[in-house]
Structure formats: structure tokens, C-alpha cells
């Protein structure tokens, strides 16, 4: 009688590239990613936007993801980069906030503390040569003063009245330089929304990893508000005249 050969399912077989010996290896590239975060200060606080896409390489894999979260009472965090690492960060922050709540000391986590915590995690991970593949934008309003800060996977931080991550740093930042900087205290919410939508529209036109379904969020003295997803009006009639770029 012939013997029966059974193949071990691929799930129980160890992939060849994962070995039990040799140097420690870390993930060296992001897999499921979110693109730009755009945020800036205006009269009442801070406004921010991200789209709802999580790409798998160049594939538009998950089209209903939220890349902004509210942390504590008056802090908004926006993320670009690896969504898995973002989930890890969300859980870490949640644990931190639960711990703080349990303390029952009447203190609550302020925006600056959350910013410091995130940047310390990011720098700590890069020092283990195992960075979290994200850029974070942390925004909040504390004692009538608005705060806007940036952290990347090196743990590099800076604060600025306008911040744009990823592709936004090239495409949205110049727009923000022109229309926002120097006018932060005068911009109304209406104007801010218009500028933000313009930035997101430019990004949608030119960033291949972007998506025309986005959320807008604001932090004011009243707290954090994250909008439902919405699309932007776009006009592609001139697309025919665009030549070059490998097309």
C-alpha cells in the first residue's frame, strides 16, 4: 500500500527567514500605513485632519480607519505611519490613563504630559533599535493656551503653530506657511476649515497613498471633537493636460 503524505499546514511551519539563532532582528519596514496628518493652530484652538485610508504597500487596503484619537480630557493625537504600531501606542496610552484614573488624586493628564510620554516612548524604542514606525502630532488646549507638537520615530520633537507629516510636509506645509503662520490668533474656524480642506485636496491630488474620505478634528477649550468621515469636491478636468511623471 502506498504511504500517505501529509503536508504540514503553512501556519505551523516556521518561515525559513525566522531562525532560532543569529542576531536579534526587528521589523525594518512598516506594512499597513497611514499617510499625512495636517494640523495647525487657529483662534479657538487646533484643527487637524487625516484621511481614512490604511494602505498595504501601494494597495488601498483598509478604507475606514481612524488615525486620530482623543486622549484624556483635552488632547488630540494624530498619527501617520504603521497602523499596528499605532494600535500599540493606543493601548499603552489607555493603560497610562487608566492607571492615572485609578490614582484618584484629582489630577488629570495634560497635553504636555501626554506629548512627553509619547516622545519618551518613541525615543526609547529607537534606542532599542526597534522604533515604532510612526509620526505623531499631539494637540491640546490647556489653561487657554493651545499646544501643538510633533514626534517621529527617532524621538525627534518640535513644536510649531503648523505641522504636517509625511507627504504633507512637502505639499501642505508651504500652504500653511503662507496662510496660517502669523495669523494663528485671527483665523476663524470657518477660515481654518477652508485652509485645511485645501491642504487635504492638494494632498489627495498628488499623494498616491491618500484617499478622498477624511476626518477633521478640533481641540478647543471645550474639548476634543472628531468629525464623521466626509469627501472633498475635486476637479480632474485638467488631468488630461498633465504630462510627464512617468505617465
Amino acid at each position: 500500500m502506498d504511504s500517505i503524505t501529509l503536508k504540514v499546514p503553512h501556519t505551523t511551519e516556521r518561515p525559513a527567514e525566522i531562525t532560532n539563532y543569529g542576531p536579534t532582528t526587528h521589523i525594518s519596514q512598516p506594512s499597513v500605513t497611514g499617510t499625512s496628518v495636517v494640523a495647525f493652530k487657529y483662534k479657538d484652538g487646533i484643527i487637524m485632519a487625516t484621511d481614512c485610508l490604511a494602505s498595504y504597500g501601494s494597495m488601498a487596503r483598509f478604507r475606514n480607519e481612524t488615525r486620530m484619537i482623543s486622549v484624556g480630557n483635552n488632547t488630540l493625537v494624530g498619527m501617520s505611519g504603521d497602523t499596528g504600531d499605532f494600535q500599540h501606542m493606543k493601548h499603552t496610552l489607555e493603560n497610562l490613563l487608566t492607571h492615572e484614573y485609578d490614582m484618584d488624586d484629582g489630577q488629570n493628564m495634560g497635553t504636555r504630559s501626554i506629548y512627553k510620554y509619547i516622545s519618551n516612548i518613541m525615543y526609547g524604542r529607537r534606542s532599542k533599535i526597534d522604533p515604532l514606525w510612526n509620526s505623531y502630532v499631539v494637540a491640546g488646549v490647556e489653561n487657554g493656551e493651545s499646544f501643538l507638537g510633533f514626534v517621529d520615530y527617532y524621538g525627534t520633537t518640535y513644536q510649531s503653530p503648523t505641522i504636517a507629516t509625511g507627504f504633507g510636509a512637502y505639499l501642505a506645509q508651504p500652504i500653511l506657511r503662507k496662510y496660517v503662520e502669523g495669523h494663528e490668533d485671527e483665523l476663524t474656524e470657518e477660515e481654518a476649515v477652508r485652509i485645511l480642506d485645501d491642504c487635504m485636496r492638494v494632498l489627495y491630488y498628488r499623494d498616491g497613498r491618500s484617499f478622498n474620505k477624511l476626518r477633521r478634528a478640533k481641540v478647543t477649550a471645550e474639548g476634543v471633537e472628531i468629525s464623521e468621515p466626509y469627501p472633498l469636491d475635486t476637479n480632474w478636468t485638467i488631468a488630461n493636460y498633465v504630462v510627464g511623471y512617468g505617465s
Partner: protein, 257 residues
Amino acid sequence: MTSIGTGYDLSVSTYSPDGRVFQVEYAQKAVDNSGTAIGLRVKDGVVLAVEKIKHSRLLVPNSNKRIMTAGKHIGFASAGWMSDTRHLVKRARDEARHYYGTYKTEIPAKIIAERMGMYVQAYTLYSAVRPFGVSTLLATMDNNDPQLYMIEPSGQYMGYRGCAAGKGKQAAKTEIEKLDLDSLSVRDAVKEAARIIYSVHDSTKDKLFELELSWVCAESNGVHTHVPQDLFDEAVEYAENADNSDDEGDEEMEDDE
């Protein structure tokens, strides 16, 4: 105490000839010396109240809390030794956090009660450890479902609609039994809980005490928190007034009989 000197109470791993573990009963006694803690489960929430006995006027008001939070939706009140309580509340927090980390959903009341019960029970098994001198009241809200559990030093844990531990537990239980817990609103339950704590407080034995009140309910967004100051004041006022009229009421009843 007939058990003393018999040698059967030296270790938690020794039974007495009639099948008792004296160490566990002593732990229960430690609980019975403590200020009263009560829990009321009504239709839309759970209320915890504690009579925190103060041994000195020099203590900072609201310090050494006996009602704590173990994960946002879990209230933790205790009667017994505070040092043991702090250990148990740490354990409860770790359990709640670990469960959430594994399942990404808040730990259900039944599970946390079971895990705490098992943990407490393990300390009644070995001669190298002693049982916890604490009765723990767990008040939680999972998916708008209010739950109240009490864990005793033996590790026995049960769900309750109303429960009490500590010095005044007998008197408190009689008072709780008079309440219509099904129809009581959570705000009224806060007031009743305050009233019960005031009524079981024995001012001849313990002069100073502080009332602690907390709740988990829809009004607190399913989160365990101390009751708002205005409700607290209202409850204290209600308790102080009711205390006298209640005594009169009892006398009248006696007259009727």
C-alpha cells in the same frame, strides 16, 4: 475563644477536629472590627458607601481612601485591614488590565469577582501564608448592567443586590432589607446608603468618622467615581435628619405593638 491553645489555629493548613480552619475565622474577625462598608445594587447602578473610622483629628480629610477604583468601571470598597486591601486592589487592577490587554474588552464583573475570589482563596491553602483580613465589595457596570459582588477572607464570592461588611454589618443588612432595591433610583440609593452608614455608626465607640460614597451608573457614564459634591452634601443632610426621625419611628412601632 475555645480554639486558642488547642494548636489547631496555628496554621491555615490545619483543620480543627470539627472541620474548621480557625485562621480563616480569625481573618473574618479582623473584618468585623473594621468600619462598615455597604453596597447597594439598584436597577440603574451600584452605590458603595463606607464608614471610615479615623483614629486622629490630625489626619488630612479625604486621605486614606477606602473606596478605590480598579479599572474605570470597577469600584472597590473594603472592610478590614487597609494594608491587605491595597494589595488586593493592586491585584484587581492588574487582573482588569491584563484581561483588557488580552480580549480588548473590559473585564466582566463575574470574571473579576471569580479571579479575586480564587486569589483570596489561595491564601487559605498554605501554611506559609495567612488569609487576607479583608472583605471586598466590587461594584461594576458592564454594558449598562449593574453588578455587585462581595469577596470574603475565605475566598467565597457571591453576587448581591445589597451587602454589608464590617462592624455594623448586621444592622446595615436589616436596613438594606427594608429597601425596595428594584424601584430605587441610583440617586436615592446614594442617600439611603449614607443614611444607613450614619445609622450604624456607633458614636460612643468611635468618635470620628468620615463617610465615603461612590457609584457606577449611567449618570457617571458607566465609570466608577465618587459621587458629585452636591449629591454628597444632600445625602449627608438626608442621613443626619433621617437618623433622628428613624429612631422615633422605631419607638412608634414599638408602641403599636
